[in-house]
Amino acid sequence: MTVEPIHAATSGPSFRARLGATLAHRTVWPVLALALILIVDGFVSPGFFTIRIVEGRLFGSLIDILYRAMPTAMVALGMAVVIGTKGIDLSVGSTIAITGAVIAWRIHAGDSHLLILFLALGVGVLCGLWNGFLVAVLDIQPIIATLILMTSGRGIGLMINLVYGGTNPSFLSPLLQSLSVGHVGLVPTRIIVGAVLFFLLWLLLRRTALGLFLEAVGDNARAADLSGVGARFVRYAAYLISGVYAAAAGVVLTADTHTSDPVSEGLYIELDAILAVVIGGGSLSGGRIYLGATMLGALVIQALTTSILTSGVPPEYNLVVKAFVVIVVLLLQSKNARGLVVRLARARAR
């Protein structure tokens, strides 16, 4: 091992090389995007960065962004795993709808609320088992396989609502609501729940061989299979994880409104989750799982939504602004587009 000369760090080419290496690192762009959005917010709405303590809990726009980003972030974590295996899970919104319907149903049936929490996660397991069966056992293309549950899942939620004659039943559950809108000490509980879920998944992927297997299958399923990684089982596991994480988001979202609304609960959350994974640098062609960057991606999306709402731009402009930011982030991540910008800038300087 050789020792680097100290002056290399300050000399020109090495610094540029370092800058290049930093810019090429995948987490730079979501961090820059997030910073840019927050800086603009700081200028547009004064006091954006103040965090106060109101009624014994942290309060402020930054906390609000974290708070609201959690359901999407949970879904996106599971999505990152599925996308890492070269798959996709369009059914997460439907899983959330079914979870909500089951929670309302069992609470009205009088089950203990701790049991209901596990039942809700069990819904996620069932949805994951179904998707995994289609993708891993029947070998159906993931988009189409999960499209089946996406189309029918909200219908299943409505049917569960109808079982006891209610549409959009509401309920009260101190346990579930404390997980969603409550707070431990100063910190909102759902931020802690999100952090714990992130940490658990990180342990599962990076402290066991599962993460390596998932990425191997996503990179080249056949090669992984031939080298003794059971591609079928590994893909099954990915959809199970996605189902359970979507169900966790379902618990948070349902307890937030304490109503089961299968038609609109978690609508389009699959698009936001996929977007979060991609902003975090994950490729839809599989082979890589970036959990931390995916969390950042979810924060970028929520920061954008929050800042549009707080800056007084009419809500009709929400989608267009979102589309432009997505395009800019994607162009920044693209090597060719960066090269074009650099060439244009040089041509102008000359």
Binding site: Q141, I144, L149, T151, I156, S334
Partner: protein
């Protein structure tokens, strides 16, 4: 049977079986009237799906279809209020669809970003543009709309072929010609089959990919024009979710999502199967919205598994 036509045969068999089931369950179901209605009601989805077929055969995907349909309708309705003839605004929107699709294709190829994400941004952009123009439904009052919706060709039996169905069939014929009798068509199959080999054999990648998405944009804009004329209005939420119906039509029509395999003609039958499901549920009359969602999901599942067994799973399993 030739391997290329087996998925199409499987789709036709499924359609026939469903149609006969409907005939066994309900009186007057087996008629050209029902067939003509299915064609007319689903013309806009099938037209959009025809464009998507090219995109999917090339191994890509286009999610911006539904938003394009909504956007085209909203712009046409607003141009109608300032006195444009619907045909003039339709021509403008077709050109817009072509240009927007080409831009999406350029971004996909030049920036090497996945089509799923680029067209997702397209979905947000166009739907957001709809909301920016107006939030309510705007009627199209030009007399041409009545002329258009009144025009039809009688079929044997009680049925008739509505003008929207005629436009759909003409655009299908054009698509079949493009896919199977032009150099561009074989480029599309080559890129979908094996991208690297296609590039090595001299397929002009950028031109072809831009062309594919331009074609997709053109066909979804045409679907939007037909939808606007058929409903004689522009509504900013129109066409929400149509991209999923279009993709489902393409897949039910026997095209494989991994690219390289598929027939444009199959998309017509795939779209008609989806239309047939909705018609069957409407004929029953006593089923609520939840049943429509569950049964269309269940039927999608049954068809996919059925097709898999009919065309032999082994060949698909070896696909990457």
């Amino acid at each position: 049977m030739n391997e290329t036509y087996r998925p199409l045969a499987a789709t036709v068999a499924v359609f026939t079986a469903l149609f006969l089931t409907g005939g066994a369950l309900y009186n007057n179901f087996l008629s050209t009237l029902v067939l003509g209605d299915i064609l007319a009601d689903n013309a806009f989805v099938i037209i959009a799906a025809i464009g998507t077929t090219f995109v999917i055969i090339s191994g890509g995907i286009d999610l911006s279809i539904g938003s394009m349909i909504g956007f085209v309708g909203v712009v046409m309705a607003n141009l109608d209020t300032v006195g444009w003839h619907p045909l003039a605004s339709a021509a403008l929107m077709l050109a817009f669809g072509l240009g927007f699709g080409a831009l999406q294709g350029l971004v996909i190829d030049f920036c090497e970003i996945q089509p799923f994400i680029v067209t997702l941004a397209g979905l947000f952009l166009l739907r957001g543009a709809c909301f920016m123009i107006n939030l309510d439904s705007v009627p199209i009052r030009h007399p041409f709309v009545l002329v258009f919706s009144g025009a039809s060709i009688p079929l044997p039996g009680d049925g008739f072929l509505a003008s929207s169905a005629i436009v759909m069939l003409v655009s299908l014929v054009a698509a079949v010609v493009i896919a199977h009798f032009t150099r561009f068509g074989s480029y599309v199959y080559a890129i979908g089959g094996d991208r690297v080999s296609a590039a090595l054999m001299g397929v002009p990648m950028r031109r072809t990919i831009v062309g594919i998405y331009a074609l997709g944009g053109f066909y979804s804009a045409l679907g939007g024009v037909i939808y606007a004329l058929y409903t004689s209005s522009g509504y900013p939420l129109a066409g929400t979710g149509t991209e999923l119906s279009a993709i489902a039509s393409v897949v039910l029509g026997g095209t494989v999502l991994t690219g390289g395999v598929g027939l444009v003609a199959g998309t017509l039958v795939g779209g008609m199967i989806l239309g047939l499901i909705a018609t069957l549920i409407n004929f029953n009359g006593s089923l609520n919205g939840a049943w429509i969602m569950i049964s269309s999901g269940a039927l999608l599942f049954v068809f996919i598994v059925l097709q898999r067994s009919l065309i032999g799973a082994s060949r698909l399993r070896s696909a990457p």
